[in-house]
Symmetry: C2
Subunit: 278 residues, 2 copies
Amino acid sequence: MTAPGPLSLNTATVKEQWSLQQCIEGCARHGITGISPWRDKLAEYGVRNAAKHIRDVGLAVTGLCRGGMFPAPDAAGRQAAIDDNRRAIDDAAALGAQCLVLVVGGMPQGSKDLAGARSQVQDGIAAVLEYARAAKMPLAIEPLHPMYAADRACVNTLAQALDICDALGSGPGDAHLGVAVDVYHVWWDPQLKAQIERAAKRILAFHICDWLVPTTDLLLDRGMMGDGVIDIPAIRAMVEAAGYRGFCEVEIMSAGNWWKRDADEVLRVCQERHRTVV
Amino acid sequence: MTAPGPLSLNTATVKEQWSLQQCIEGCARHGITGISPWRDKLAEYGVRNAAKHIRDVGLAVTGLCRGGMFPAPDAAGRQAAIDDNRRAIDDAAALGAQCLVLVVGGMPQGSKDLAGARSQVQDGIAAVLEYARAAKMPLAIEPLHPMYAADRACVNTLAQALDICDALGSGPGDAHLGVAVDVYHVWWDPQLKAQIERAAKRILAFHICDWLVPTTDLLLDRGMMGDGVIDIPAIRAMVEAAGYRGFCEVEIMSAGNWWKRDADEVLRVCQERHRTVV
């Protein structure tokens, strides 16, 4: 097997330790050539400052996290989400990001209408798609693990995400609307290989971490690559067979372990595992 | 909408409070007409004692939990699982259970071979199927939520479970090998309606509880019907449209809440919610 694509640091991996400025400096210091900021960190630093700093040290921006969160209990809430996604597209464009990652949102508070939330997601993406195309900013729908269906993302499989792409006119050769493949969210899916093939050029990002056994928290107990049960090289081979040639973006939210460690150590371990188990 | 099928008590719901003997007495006292024991409780009481007691008070046994756990690191381990499943079939037959529920097992310790584990599951079921047919004991594959793929069950969707049924010769009109539909495990599935239709007569059990937001533990934080986000009546309508006419089996594993309450109170709340939100 060939070497994996270059490593990118999703800033969530060291969010408790470092500001965005420190993440950029850390990537430069460690020879990590890609970064994927979250918008809260970006807002702290300022988009202009961040864009200039990232350009100065020569990092690729493999994504901006995140747009999405479309469902809302009323039309005003849905419009606010659309407006916020337009701002996220502007920010992503200012950074020269390769895509804006969409965590699409779950059911509005008090709702049990999962199908309705899914419709709202598709409508929301449709409503921002032209804006994104005009900004030349690809949108990457990230299917989240089914355990987040209620409160974070009601798009839970690659098949579902690709159905939305199809419905909104983005085919296998067209990358203006595509998907982010995060091994944590999709590794269990019996249709994984077939759906990655189907995605083809629509794979806009590839995220890595690992699934720990046991997992002690639904959100903040992700594992370092190699510490869990996911066959990451097998999934990397699938996305590469589908034509993906981009970065491997590490995104580990780990309140009990990696967020408590020295961030330079975390980056060193990410690099070592990227070389040895991805 | 018509009234739901009668209520059955899965003994896991009050496992911290009551023995199987107390569960049987509790069902009789509360007018609950079905029960589904777990094998640890059954072993404590003894199969003969339990069977006689259940017969004496006239309860239906809507399932025995559980067979399965097929994958193992070596042939001896896999054979031990097959032998254990045969004993479970004997126990289920002695109780006059409507089915033996199969929680199929995850990946063996240290393995990252999910596809291999899935093959082992199908082979394991194949190996016990004739024994089950001879005992006239239907086997119900229970797809578990994808968050259990690593360590409890690598069959994670109804589609997968039905593919196994198809492969082993159990078609839509044939109930010797079928599925258990638990709303907790399947509510998020975009294919839910289509796969329930496909299941048809192969739906051998219908389990109810609810998905809480937030969910604080992957295993032991299930909610009481009505306290979460699952549209239970919608799923009940699907299984009934597919021809299911059996019990609604309540199975709530809740270390922080329902296991701490008085078991008679738990049964009363189950009955009230069964009447009002199922």
